[in-house]
Structure formats: C-alpha cells, structure tokens
Symmetry: C3
Subunit: 278 residues, 3 copies
C-alpha cells in the first residue's frame, strides 16, 4: 500500500488538510496518508525543509512526500517532482528541495505539466494530489512532467568554515517543541573540520566544550538523587537529525524554561565552534 | 473500506479524540478515520459548519462525517443523521446542518433513536459512533432513526441583497490559518446579483474593485523581482471554498501580518459590495 | 490489523511524530497508527497518564500503546512493556505506568532489553518502535524483555480519605480543552466513602451539593428558552473518564470563560468533599 506524507503550513484547524486527504481517497482506494506537520510557519520553506528532512528517511523507500508550503503555481514557482534516495518529493521549486537535498543528486527530476488537465477549485494542491496518486499507482515521473536539469538554489543556510579550518560559523535554524535550539551545524561537518581536536562552542553568553550523546549524560548517576541539580543547565548534543543542538535538561518552555528562552538562543543567533590547535 | 471523518471542538490534547477512534476501531476492523478538524472553537457551530462544508465534497461519495460540536443529547438537541449529496452527516440538530445544507434538500433525514440501546460512559459521541459504524457496515438510516421532516434553521448568517439588487451586505465569518478573512459572500451570489457589472468591495477602511483568481495575480511578473513590493498589500479572491476572502500576499499572522490583523477584518466585520449601474 | 497508539510530548510541529510513524511503517506493512495526543506538557507524566488512561479502554483488546514522555533510557529510567487488561503499554519506568494501573495487577511485565540490538539515531523511541512492532507481529514480551516484579510508584496523586470517612481530600489534576477542571476524585471512591449520604463539594469559593449526569442537567427545560440563563454557571459532573469535574455550561476558555478561569480552579487546587452524618 502506497504511503503519502503531508508537510504543509495549512494549520490543523482549517478545512484544507481534510480536503487534501479527501481528494487522495477519492483517487485511491488503498493508501496510507501520514501527517508529518501542518504547523510550518506560513511560507517558511527553511522550516519546512528542516522538518521533512528529518522525518522522510525513517519511511520505507517509495514513500511519496507532498510539501504544501509556498506552493501557488506561477511562472516563477513551477511545480516539481523528484526521486531522491528512493523517496518521491512533490513541491514547488521555491528552494525547499535544494535545502532538503543538500549536495545529493536526484535520481529523477521533472517539472510537473499536468495543470491544464486538472479542473477543480482547490488549485494549490490539486496538481500535487494528482501527481502523488499517479506515482502511488505505479506511474512514472516522465508521464506527468518534463525532465528538468536544475532546481532553484538558496544560499546562506549552510555554515561557513574559516580559511584556517579552525572555526565553523553556523546559526540557530529551528526551535523545537521543547525549546531546544537546533543549529545548521551537522555532525558530519563538525567531524570533518574538527578531526577530533578539542573545541569551544560559543553562542551569546554560553560556552560549551563537550558534546553529549544523550541529554541525561549531564547527570552523574553515582551522585545521590538529591544532589543532582541539573534542571535548566545547558548542554549540547547532536540531535536525532544529526545537527548540533543546544538544550537544557528536561526542558519545558512553559515552566523551567529552555535553551531558546533561558539563553536567548533564538532563530538566526550565530553559533561559533573554535577548534584548538592540535 | 468505509471512511469516517471527524470534526469536533475536542482539541488535540485531551483523550476524547483518541477515545472516539478507539470506539470506532472496536466496532469496525476495516475503516479509514480522517480528522478534519478538532480545533473548532468550543460550541461554535458556525465555524464547524464552515470547516466541514469546505472539506466534505472532496471525499468520495458514501463518506460518513461525524460533527462533534455542541452535541450533548437533550430534549431540545436531538441527534440526527442525514444523507446529502451522497454523503452522510451525523450531528446534533443544533443548526450546524442547516448551515451546511444551505438550500439543498437532503436525500434522507432521520432522528437517531438508539440511545436506549447504548451502555457506555462516553455519552456525547456514543450514539454518533454507533450510527457511523452502522452506516459503514451498509446499514440504512431507517434502522437507527425515525424519519424527520425538518431541521432547526439558523438565521442571520446569509448575506443580504438590497432591494435594488445593487448591493450585497455580508460579513467576515472565518479567519483562516494565514489570517485571511473569509466572508459569507459566495461566488454564486456575487455572480447572480452582479451580472458582470463593475463593483466596489468595502470593509472598514479597505476598498477593492478587482477580484483575483489566485493570490499571486497581485504580482506583475514582467516587473523586475526587486520592484515587486506586494508584501502586506490587500487583495480579494474567491477562495477554494468559493467564498469571497480578503487576504494579503504571503500572509503570516506572526510576522508581516494578515488581512485580519492589518486591516482589522475580524469575525462579524461587515463587508459591502456595491455594483455600479450598468 | 494491529493498532499502535501514540501518546507523547513531541508536539505536532516537529519531525519526531512523523519519524516514529515512518519507522513503524518500515517494519510493518499492515498496521493502524492512532495519535492519542502529542500535546502532553513536556516531561509531565501525570498528564500523560491522565490522557492515556481515559482513552486506552475504548480501543480493542490487543492494542499497543506507546507512551513517549520522559523516555530517555538511563540506568534509572529503564524501558518497560506491560500487558494490562488485555492492552499492551510500552513506556519508561518513570511512574507513568503506576498512575495508569492504579491498583491493577499487570498480566505481564518486562524490562525491555533489546537496546544493544538497535542501531539508529532516533534513540529515544527506537526501542519502543521495535517492541511495538514485535508485539504487532504476534511476538511475546518474554522475547524482548526480562520479567520484572515491580515498577516505580509515585505518591501524592491519590485523594486522601479522612479517618472518620466523612471527607475526601483531592485536587485538580487536569484542565481540559473546554477549561473544565478535572479532579483526582473518582466516582468509585466517592460512592465507596459517601455511601449515598448528602455532601458538599468545596473548591476555593465554590460550593456544590449536587452532581449532574450531564452538563445540560443544569437547564430546566420547562422554563421558557429566554429565562434559562446558565452560561458561566458552575456545575459538577463525573466526566466520561469517571472523575469529578467542575465545569461551566457551554464553557469556552476564550470567550465566556471556564471553571478554571472563572473560579480559579487551576491544577493542584484542593477540592474537598464533606459528607453529612447520616
């Protein structure tokens, strides 16, 4: 049974998510539809990319991912379908796919050209739904689009490495549900540049020289329970998505506070890693 | 496989939505349950009607729609099941169905009378779940209810047309996830009254004389990209639901603002269309 | 087809819920995944317990419930799987299960010990997903865990009964979507201690001597409609979960207000029931 996932900025209240699901069920008797997120900040493709990028690979190969963010079809915002690492992505060519793909080469890439065959009133996502259902039925991309050689790139979201290779300049790109501040610095770039050297991570007034494997590594379990006061203490971890994340232990934005609120580590705040000479 | 949709004011946090789904799965091995919305403002049947009305028709015929808003069973709030345009609706007779049906005649309409056969503690929706599962198994409405000739009507939500047929008096009825202000003026009434005449739409301090086909029509794509400053500019469109909507381009209530926040076009604000003499 | 439910504090925006679902679909072709809630306050196991406790029993026996709250695997936070009243629960041994079970004895209880067999980067829930899929395929708990004789208990969440058996001292434990204040006083303890005697319920400035069967019992349907002014009036009910709940009629936290806002009946506020000598 085909799986179609949805990542949109539609929110959970409006009729749009239901309408898209209904349209899919109208075309396909047997299909599994999975919501990845509908809480993307309106028109924020960087956020959409972060979310889908960190969810898609856990799905089986062949899964079809619809990204309904900034998707209105215009001469400058064409619709594309892509086969990438065995997964299908359907979205507008607004930069979101460049963010997801990073340096990967797509197996297939087409501009969807079925818009004149569609008559409906939910214009934004009709072409996406038709394309997804076509793929779910085993159809090929070539039938619903024409090959495309390149997609729109977006600059400025990759961390920079200093000429000396002693520093990485990144920034906070996402605040998660716990108020943790996720950066654009991946474990891969950290390892490549750092080569095992000692380091200091600095972000506003915070300094860290250690990266934990899991949040609870901040606790010394040999201490008596009452002597372990770690609530609200900052720590750094590579999160499950493989990105450097600044967090607090048992973070709660509404009560004890979180990395983003306690330390002011909001979106776009610079994060610098300096490696020591070895 | 039968499809049952849910539109409620239960919210997404409480156990109620899960409990309803569990009860359906207990009765039916094979069923597809789709959340349309659980964020209806508590007891707000106008909002519930707007949401279900704009989602239901994208589902296949035969879909069963449960509306769990203001549904406590009382002598004055009976439970009804309706077959309308090939779709089943199960709700309380509190006016929500009149809003959905508008001028349509239901194919079938019954008062659900199975309450004394149900023993459970989730009283509000037990009768709805039993009714939905009965229909999903192919049962008829007559078995679980007695025919009803009329339902409760609600006044004041339809736009008014002036005696001269030169004006339509409507109002904002819904603010969507992007902060767009949706009115109760349908494309149908606009066309019928306007008959192609020039017009002016006025709402608070805003005046519009054009209705776009899509949001991006506000852009002149022949301008250089940097000369197109349309952010925060108001525009009018018939939305995918067929209602007149006042919007801003790439609206975001949290950052650049939206029609409802920038122009004060909140729920109940009057919207007047004046047609020019032809 | 196996049913797996999810109750977490992941929120609905982040990629985590999608990632967990993808991982389940990767292991199981045929499975029904049901979201119970992802809005548990971060790390709040009392809230998680309240939610799952009031949803799980409506599902068919054999359903597998994953509770992803405060679940990081540490020497002091082991992972457990339990068979209880025909339902499977998979969670960390952080007290949440003790809250759900109350005085029940589990049919089976094991410490999950498959962590060294798992290689993945979504550490928190990988073991839960693997365990759930193992059970869904018909596997036994003994294969993925070793028997455990006791779980971590949590004190202070049960109401207290006075020595004279004339009073029950409870508290507000949950505020629902309507702003109703749910207490930890069950209908069972009320009946056992009260034995049908007259009573007074007091919470801050509010006093109640009656418990309704449904919210609308506050209305006298023989009054003319316009004489029934019950909006905002307090009432007490045993909710669908069987707990004493203080509510207002047609409560709406955003407009007319609710029990928690109007009467200040927030989490932890004491609620005392005093029974009259019979």
């Amino acid at each position: 049974m085909a799986i179609i996932t949805l990542t949109t900025d539609f929110g959970w209240k409006d009729p749009y998510v239901g309408a898209v699901k209904g349209a899919i069920y109208k075309e396909l008797k047997e299909v599994t539809i999975v919501d990845i997120s509908h809480d993307v900040t309106p028109f924020n493709i960087a956020e959409a990319a972060y979310i889908i990028q960190n969810a898609y690979h856990s799905f089986p190969e062949g899964t079809i991912h619809i990204i309904g963010v900034d998707a209105e079809h215009t001469p400058e915002n064409i619709h594309i379908a892509v086969l990438l690492k065995g997964h299908y992505f359907i979205c507008a060519d607004n930069g979101v796919l460049a963010l997801i793909m990073n340096k990967l080469r797509p197996e297939k890439l087409v501009e969807i050209n079925i818009h004149d065959r569609i008559t409906s009133n939910f214009t934004t996502l009709d072409a996406f739904v038709s394309t997804a259902c076509h793929i779910a039925r085993g159809g090929t991309l070539e039938v619903i689009g024409k090959p495309l050689s390149r997609i729109r790139a977006i600059s400025g979201v990759q961390p920079k490495v200093s000429d000396s290779s002693n520093s990485i300049y990144g920034q906070v790109i996402y605040i998660d549900n716990y108020g943790n501040s996720v950066t654009n610095i991946s474990e891969e770039i950290f390892d490549t540049v750092g080569k095992g050297r000692a380091f200091e991570i600095s972000a506003r007034n915070e300094r860290f020289t250690k990266i934990f494997k899991q949040y609870s590594d901040i606790i010394n379990f040999e201490d008596e329970e009452k002597k372990r006061d770690v609530d609200g203490k900052g720590l750094v971890i590579f999160n499950s998505a493989g990105y450097l994340e600044m967090a607090t232990y048992k973070s709660n934005p509404l009560t004890v506070g979180s990395a983003s609120s306690l330390f002011g580590l909001k979106i776009n705040v610079p994060v610098i890693i300096t490696f020591k000479d070895s």
